[in-house]
Symmetry: C2
Subunit: 237 residues, 2 copies
């Protein structure tokens, strides 16, 4: 019996194609099959990040297309189908690299593939630069130092939960801001944390924007945006 | 007047030399001056991570040597002196790359240099793969998904503070474990979180070890070690 292939989750970093690691790039170039999350129609962000590195290489590609209205066509079915397709390649002895924005294990959809494949096939992960540290670099300020507790908090939580999770920490990264921007501003205002908060969207991409939270218009933000805050104003005071 | 050089904080990743980014490596190769944290005597970990990439290149090197007994010779003086030396190169128009383990803005000592140089000179940061995501990859389990709150908590906090900071989160990374391992075990035990906790030391290095927390001998751990825990046992349940 031939050996099965390996599923390799490759973190490609936050957006700048040169923020992929040497190890991640080598794995991408070597794997005959690439899988990646994609919208229902159109281009995959993860795929577009590595596009400059794949010119001239021929790969079998498996876009994992997620419908915008998830209820209409459950995400579970999308992943079951992708797991079947990827599994067939692995059984045939072909490695499959699954490209993930940022890091595969940091709020990544790779988890939903991982839970279906681990145990059945060899699975490994090559970590990547996460949006967390990329946003801090773009904002030009340290995230946390010394004994700081740093909380990563999804903006999708309801207002009371957000306030409870943010009230005691020294530093916080509020992720998945999107349409929750106005709520995030209210919560940080009520905690006295709004003054020093920085808003970062599309960190390290050409479309990157960095603003004081107070400069945002409150109307909304893209999914790939983050609010960074430090109770001391900065991490070194 | 000639233009001043730039200070570039380069995250070199957690330990595997191939986990540096293309961008970080290019910056290292280009800069005529390298600075890096180092122990009072002997080799710098950050410098050793990039050593395979620097063979044959001639650089001016500035080790920032931190005494083990900080009280004897304050850290402040060490950074003031390094800032002076680095500043002289920048004034002369030479770029200085400061090599940092992991990511410069994620609990990195680069902050202490940054606070002295930002505003006076051009400073930028190239983010790196942090120990946070590297440890998750080594442990083979997702850190956090969906609406999880993820707390990064230094083990240096006292026992009650540790307990308070960990009691409500879905996922936690307890960093700087070192001699605090027994305390961390007690706190996680008391919160019912110990069963699924994983201990990772020297992630992605040759000396990497991954254990269930219950398998650690409790005697202590190196500084570069982390305990990862998820309330649900795993991030996808």
């Amino acid at each position: 019996m031939s050996e099965s292939g390996a599923l390799i989750g490759v973190g490609v970093g936050p957006g700048d194609p040169d923020l992929i690691t040497l190890k991640g790039l080598a794995a991408l170039k070597r794997a005959p099959v690439l899988a990646y999350p994609a919208p229902e129609e159109g281009e995959s962000l993860a795929r577009s990040i590595v596009a400059p590195h794949l010119e001239g290489l021929v790969k079998t590609e498996i876009p994992i297309r997620m419908p915008i209205v998830a209820a209409r066509f459950p995400a579970r079915e999308v992943y079951e189908r992708a797991a079947g397709e990827i599994g067939a390649h692995l059984e045939a002895g072909r490695d499959v690299a699954c490209i993930c924005e940022g890091d595969p294990f940091f709020y990544g959809s790779f988890t939903f593939l991982f839970q279906r494949m681990a145990g059945r096939f060899p699975v490994r992960v090559i970590p990547g630069v996460s949006s967390l540290t990329a946003c801090a670099a773009s904002a030009g300020a340290p995230l946390a130092v010394r004994n700081d507790v740093l909380a990563v908090v999804p903006a999708t939580l309801d207002e009371d939960a957000l306030r409870a999770r943010l009230k005691d920490v020294e530093a916080a990264a509020i992720i998945k801001v999107g349409r929750h921007l106005a709520k995030v501003r209210r919560v940080l205002d009520s905690l006295g944390l709004a003054r020093h908060a920085r808003y970062v969207e599309h960190a390290t991409m050409r479309s990157e924007r960095v603003l004081a939270l107070s400069e945002t218009d409150g109307a909304g933000a893209p999914y790939f945006s983050m609010v960074l805050v430090h109770r001391r104003g900065s991490a070194w005071q």
